[in-house]
Symmetry: none
Subunit: 155 residues, 2 copies
Amino acid sequence: MNFLTRNKQIILYGLALAVIIILVRWLEISYILADDSVDIYIGVIALLFTGLGVWLAIKLRKPKVETVIVEKEILLTPPVVFVLNENEVKRLNLSRRELEVLQWMAAGLSNQEIADKLFVSLNTIKTHTAQLFEKMEVKRRTQAVDLGKKLGLIP
Amino acid sequence: MNFLTRNKQIILYGLALAVIIILVRWLEISYILADDSVDIYIGVIALLFTGLGVWLAIKLRKPKVETVIVEKEILLTPPVVFVLNENEVKRLNLSRRELEVLQWMAAGLSNQEIADKLFVSLNTIKTHTAQLFEKMEVKRRTQAVDLGKKLGLIP
DNA sequence: TGCAAAATCACCCGAAAGTATGACCGCTGA
DNA sequence: TCAGCGGTCATACTTTCGGGTGATTTTGCA
């Protein structure tokens, strides 16, 4: 069954060949074709079988080449490399120490913990935070952290 | 000039046809071909021109389609659309209210402001935050916000 | 080298945040 | 039906935060 389907073109071609040969033979026997008309005869046969060949080639040649589109998903991870928004730092006139305090604040440290980490007194950190809030125009450390992230001051 | 190049195949085919017809005519004249051998003669011609047809078809038929592999880079932008990390919510056993409070906390609201926004008392918010901190194992709202962002609980 | 800005520290006070505990209500699943 | 949970609220207390003010030292730069 599969054989028939797969070789349908070839079988059809063979049958067509047979039919044409039979036809030609019959014409010949019937004396319809004179000896003189051999040229035309050959021409017709040639054209016929050329057409057949073309058809065969087109049919048999598989559509084959498929366009393969490979969709490659590439996950970009922008947060991996944090770049400080220098412009905002300048605009807000934030000092280095204030920015540092802001970063630790964002990490969830208390003023005391920041003080310990930076080896300064609690009061110093308080001063820094107070200045920071004033410059950033916020009232709470949570607001400062939120705004800081939005402005690209902290990762 | 261009005409010649573009129709080279067709011209070649025509010429081949002419040559073969001349050849056949010559054979006929030379009495090499007897009347009896017409079948074989036709068969040969048929095969010949079928081959020609196939060759023609293959040659003429387009500079076959090339395999095109397109690597499509799809940018995934995670920050654009925030999806809540349900797994973490379940793991930490956070209630809806607690998550809500966390979100407002992350926006920089004070407990009193959150209370006003949710139309509940300050004490209620305090209870929620206390429970939240216990479940998240943190001690401060800033820590909760930081961890919440890392775990995908808040945008 | 001098000066402004930055960094440091201190004290006080009120506000906000966080801790601990107890209580009430409504819903739900065993 | 009853235990458990989520949500609500309250009181009392401690800790931390933030505002205000003032002062000294350090540092970067013109």
